[in-house]
Amino acid sequence: MTVGRAPGRLRAVAAGLREFYVAPYRRTFARARRDEDDLFMVVVLADALGVPNPVAAHTLELLPAVYDRFHDWHRRMGMERSPLDSMSCC
């Protein structure tokens, strides 16, 4: 019985250690990821925001990928309503 339990306990220790490693910085990573996603959002919406974009045809295809986060994005950027006529989310 103890043989069966030992790996389980080892796994629990490993899980605890992982939590110990990851948890304090989870917020920092989430924030870094969000900053990167925001930058990506600006690239995709460049044309609509008035910045000439040589690869607009390609970024247009990415629009659906960022659409879900658009509402959160413009609110985070301090705009209550969608800044774009073409995109209305609220």
Binding site: R18, E19, F20, Y21, A23, P24, Y25, R26, R31
Partner: protein
């Protein structure tokens, strides 16, 4: 007095405190409920709000709050004899620190995981929040300068620790790469990382690095302070996964190993304490024990910084409200035990009283170097590790604690600088903000003493500010309890004591700085006195309002708006 007896009495006191007093607090005062939904569940987002096993959470909480401060403070304060320091650490842990840490955790959990900064806005008023920012800014300002000086002092007094201290950075960098790029198994990497660190300690012990009397025209201590600030600046700008995260992790493991080594050695060697119980012949220039003892030992007896950790991260991960007793109170118990270990090392590690008095020749002398020297003698007798190697182990341990705090301190203060710049309508980049932090920190370290010794003069001032922050947190807890018409004395008595002692200590230090003509610290001290009086006034007003205001129920807590997650 045998140090083993002292250790046993001390541990028995804090454990009894945990068994009885924390239970009283949990059931009668804070009324923790096993069924109350915690923010970790109500607002679970997989980032900040994550229900966590209470032992793992305690591990985080303890390693975040414990560091070099509970070693440095007690090691300085034993100059008044071991008994006052012992009593303040044990009684402080039971009735002050444990109550404070648990209270901050509870207050935050009942307010959807909001931080003390936000809570001071809600319970003390709009000015409360600004006051909090001022106190935190002062605290960060001093911690960087003080710890840089502590580290440089150790690097000079224990040259064998130079290689492991700087090598630990390489170990952390490699651990970071192994985890994120190699995706290696964490337990294996942890073992290898710790072994590599101890390998470096062995190497360092063979190859001491002693700097010449003048490096670039600076004394060795001043040179190390300069290098440390440059390092901290670079470290705070690197992506956290590269250095800070693995470094924190290895240091966390190291904390448990170090505590284990220290207590095992004390248990086996059980050396006699040579220092007097109460030192009646303190060196000339030593300030009066009241109030300075109570600010010299802040961490280990009560520390406002714990409230920031309790309310900033731990409260958002608490699985059940009743876990708060273990995480908050027992976290303080762990730190009290570290402080107790420091007291024993600095008083029992010498052969004769004369040896001890030679080390504690003036106030601020001894300190963490005495901890390393005394501790190494104990580790040598107890575990048979050669004295020089023992000293290297303890010095490396103390430096690594101080260094992680400094890394984080510089990083946090960068954010504060950016925020202040934002307030006046300027945008400041990472690099410029870091530069400002480094210049201010070094200015403080050098400005207060040409050889970079300013940090140790700052130490009592740092403790005063830390206590002030604790006072602010306790005022918030007291206001909440008053609004709920709960027993408030367990909070009120420590609150009054801590505030009186900090104001008293700040006033005493005005005299000290004035007589030595230290205008920089005098100015800083005056700012702290203003902040302290401000805390007293605001707390008094908020409490008198709370006493007469309407009774607040648990239902009202539920309607608190969500925590502000925009702060870093």
């Amino acid at each position: 007095m045998n140090s083993l007896v002292l250790a046993v009495i001390g541990i028995a006191m804090v454990l009894t405190g945990y068994a009885l007093y924390s239970k009283h607090l949990a059931t009668r005062v804070y009324k923790l409920s096993p069924t109350a939904p915690t923010p970790a569940h109500e607002m679970a987002d997989g980032v900040d709000y994550v229900p966590t096993n209470k032992y793992v959470l305690w591990g985080h909480h303890f390693t975040s709050v414990a560091g070099a401060a509970p070693i440095v403070g007690p090691a300085i304060a034993v100059i008044w004899g071991w008994l006052p320091a012992f009593l303040w650490v044990t009684i402080g842990t039971v009735f002050f620190a444990g109550m404070h840490d648990l209270g901050a955790l509870w207050a935050s959990v009942r307010n959807r995981g909001q931080s003390i900064g936000t809570l001071s806005g809600r319970y003390i008023g709009a000015r409360g929040r600004n006051l909090f920012l001022v106190v935190v800014f002062l605290l960060l300002l001093m911690v960087n300068a003080a710890f840089a000086v502590v580290i440089s002092g150790l690097l000079v007094s224990t040259p064998t620790s130079v290689i492991p201290v700087w090598g630990a950075i390489v170990v952390a960098l490699l651990v970071g790469q192994a985890i994120y790029r190699g995706r290696l198994n964490l337990p294996a990497v942890s073992v290898i990382g710790v072994l590599a660190l101890y390998g470096l300690i062995l190497v360092g012990d063979r190859v001491p690095v002693v700097l010449p009397d003048s490096v670039l025209g600076l004394s060795p201590a001043a040179f190390w302070v300069l290098v440390l600030f440059l390092y901290a600046g670079v470290a705070s700008l690197l992506p956290v996964w590269m250095l800070l995260q693995p470094r924190d992790y290895i240091n966390g493991l190291q904390l448990f190993i170090g505590l284990g080594i220290l207590y095992a050695a004390v248990a086996i060697a059980s050396p006699s304490i040579v220092a007097p119980a109460v030192n009646t012949a303190v060196p000339e220039g030593t300030p009066s024990i009241v109030p300075l003892l109570f600010v010299t030992i802040a961490c280990g007896a009560i520390s406002g910084f714990h409230g920031m950790v309790s309310s900033g991260t731990s409260s958002k991960q608490l699985d059940r409200e009743t876990d708060a007793r273990f995480v908050g109170y027992f976290g303080a118990v762990g730190e009290g035990m570290l402080a107790l270990g420091a007291i024993i090392a600095a008083t029992a590690g010498y052969r004769t009283l004369a040896d001890w008095e030679a080390v504690y020749s003036a106030f601020g002398q001894g300190g963490v170097a005495a901890f390393v020297e005394g501790g190494s003698t104990i580790v040598n007798t107890g575990l048979g590790i050669p004295p020089s190697l023992s000293a290297t182990i303890l010095a490396t341990m103390a430096v690594l604690f101080a260094a992680t705090t400094m890394d984080t301190g510089v990083r946090l203060q960068r954010f504060v600088v950016q925020e202040v710049a934002d307030l006046v309508g300027r945008r400041v980049g990472k690099g410029v903000a870091t530069l400002v932090v480094l210049v201010v920190g070094m200015g403080l370290a050098f400005g207060a003493g040409a050889d970079g010794s300013g940090g140790m003069l700052i130490w009592p001032l740092f403790g005063t500010t830390n206590q002030l922050l604790a006072g602010l947190t306790l005022s918030i807890v007291a206001v909440i309890l008053m609004r709920k018409r709960r027993p408030v004395l367990p909070v009120l008595v420590p609150l009054v004591f801590v505030l009186v002692m900090s104001v008293f200590a700040a006033v005493v230090q005005v005299g000290t700085f004035y007589s030595t003509g230290n205008w920089l610290l005098l100015g800083l001290d005056l700012v702290i006195i203003v902040a302290a009086l401000w805390v007293v006034v605001e707390a008094g007003v908020a409490m008198s309002r709370a006493r007469t205001g309407p009774v607040e129920t648990d239902e009202d807590d539920r309607r608190v708006p969500a925590a502000d997650t925009t702060e870093r």
